[in-house]
Symmetry: C2
Subunit: 368 residues, 2 copies
């Protein structure tokens, strides 16, 4: 009898211990995140040097009103990258590239304080690399000067980011009505700290893929078009997930579609050599757009540019697929997912948005 | 006998399981880092609104050459914070505040690719908060405009940061001679994205301590003086570790020491009301300086400003301690630690530098 009690106690204790410690992956620790490593680095960039000779005695003190520059260098035009490697990593890392007016913050904590894609995909055991492109955030050092105007422009962006119009949210929008969420959302915007230059950005992101090897590129908005160009340049990009690409759709030079006019501008296709274009047929690509994109011209400029972008994206999907590519275009309301803004990765339903992305990666066999 | 074998096996199995799972801290997983949570947010800041009325139809399209600003807002002047909470956290988090020309990158991976204080102290089970002050990095949005000159000035900083002179390292300097390390070091510099304003910075960091509660503030260089002022403002700062504070030493208005001239400038003390000054006597404070700081005037401006700073720091230590404070000043070569630059937290011996800091925190009973 004494023995039997021991058996039972030992069994229960062992089960508890086993439950607590096994399997040794992210699930084992409940909500914990187990990292093998994390860190940050600069990648790519240029070095400029001024003519003349540096005089360390007479020009070696900081003089904010009249700083000597002769014979000195500037390292700029690089990207900044913060990476995290889970303890049991999948083979292909995810590289997250933000959009216009944004930094890597786009992929971190959501405006209403929940996990962003950085942590969601880390919990799914993907190595994650978040970048600030040259001239943004922690990659602010550029080789050319700029004036930052500190312009009041947030209601413009509220419209373009399809939260609503002026200060009124669209009905059913997937964004918290807690004023602190909008406060956080506005504060994740950052200015350009140098003249925008897609060539500089593409060079830095391509250098990142040279360093880390094969991976999946995840773009947002303005980085969408730059993402196609980076994949043409670098064979280590094995798939692209593009949230709401806005411009920079590349077509073969001889097969450019007509430009698409919209209220406030005109969206033009970009031409590349046929051989470059064909690179885009060699990797799977998925494109997602959120809600509130009209099919016909309207008097809402915040929606109009996305009507043009979505129309161009359809032409682009068809052009790539016609030549043997594998591009999927998802307008989220078409699959019953409604209310998404221009930032599906941080909207209230971002876990469901992440699941869609994860399932597509699995479909393509890239989750190993 | 059958029973005895089971006892032994059960005992061994349980021990193995216990060894594998207990203690449930960072050591249990070898080199892994186990996080309960991580994320980022903006803190503090201002909101400005332009006069007039926003016109979403006629001004709702992006116009980079002539953007309308009427009736629109700008959220700026906040800090950006990235935090990580270990699974078994100590009570007091560490808040890391960078210096001039820097962002939170200062505390991340070192220029030669090793763990920085962010990860070193996370492994020691401290919650860590890394901030970009208003007008730097991911907190780039300010409410006032600025022109970024993109000046070639790195040999100036090579001197001021006490790596060496011009392009020649000091003998014995704790900095990797791999050229990639210097490349990374230069690329962690970021410009001001608005006019520097200590009041704005102090308000944002104080707001952070309002949000997170009690903690230990870790400053570097330019944030040193701002750190004293933040501790006067906010009682949640329970200790300060200051690496190489350069200016902003506050004394009672009636007890200001003489200014200290040096080659290239003059270091002045700042006056505060006696009651404010006395706040600094209520928390333990430690100050560390690296190597290559002369005791007598020289013709090396990169060293001269630190001769002035170290001299002022000694006066400041004595002034605080005379009124009952607990300030320790460590010139690292005096305790046999040589070759440190202005960045001890990322120098080659940064693990030893971290141990010094950790031991001091333990001495003060703040490691619980």
């Amino acid at each position: 009898m004494k023995h039997n009690v021991f058996y039972i106690l030992a069994g229960i204790t062992m089960c508890l211990l086993i439950t607590a410690c096994n399997p040794p992956d992210q699930k084992a620790t409940g909500n914990s995140i187990v990292l093998a490593d994390q860190g940050s680095f600069a990648i790519g960039g240029t070095i400029v040097k001024s003519a003349g000779t540096f005089d360390p005695v007479n020009h070696g003190a900081f003089n904010p009103s009249n700083q000597a520059t002769e014979g000195q260098t500037l390292h700029g035009d690089h990207a900044y990258v913060f990476y995290q490697i889970p303890k049991t990593p999948r083979q292909l890392p995810l590289v997250f590239w933000h959009g216009y007016g944004q930094s890597a913050k786009t992929w971190e904590t959501t405006p209403d304080g929940r996990d962003g894609f950085q942590t969601i995909f880390l919990r799914k055991n993907f190595p994650v690399y978040l970048l600030d492109q040259p001239g943004r955030g922690r990659a602010a050092r550029r080789s050319l000067p700029i004036t930052i105007p500190a312009a009041t422009d947030e209601q413009l962006w509220f419209g373009i980011f399809r939260m609503g119009t002026d200060t009124t949210f669209y009905p059913g929008v997937q964004f918290s009505k807690d004023p602190e969420a909008l406060n956080q959302f506005y504060r994740q915007m950052v200015p350009n700290t140098g003249p925008f230059d897609a060539t500089v950005n593409i060079a830095a992101v391509s250098a990142l893929f040279d360093k880390i090897g094969k991976g999946i590129l995840v773009t947002h908005s303005h980085s969408g078009g730059q993402g196609w160009s980076t994949a043409i340049k670098n064979r280590n990009i094995k798939a692209i997930v593009a949230y709401e690409p806005g411009s920079g759709f590349v077509f073969p030079n001889q097969e450019l579609p007509d430009s698409i006019p919209y209220l406030g501008g005109v969206l033009r296709a970009s031409g590349v050599p046929e051989a470059d274009f064909l690179q885009l047929t060699k990797i799977p690509i998925i494109i997602y757009y959120g809600d509130y994109i009209p099919t016909e011209p309207t008097q809402n400029p915040g929606q109009e540019q996305w009507r043009a972008a979505l129309s161009m994206a359809k032409l682009w999907r068809d052009a790539v697929n016609k030549k043997g590519g594998d591009v999927t275009l998802v307008y989220l309301p078409d699959i019953g997912i409604k209310g998404n803004t221009h930032f599906p990765m941080s909207d209230l339903n971002n876990e469901a948005i992440a699941d869609l992305m994860f399932n597509w990666i699995k479909e393509k066999g890239l989750e190993k």
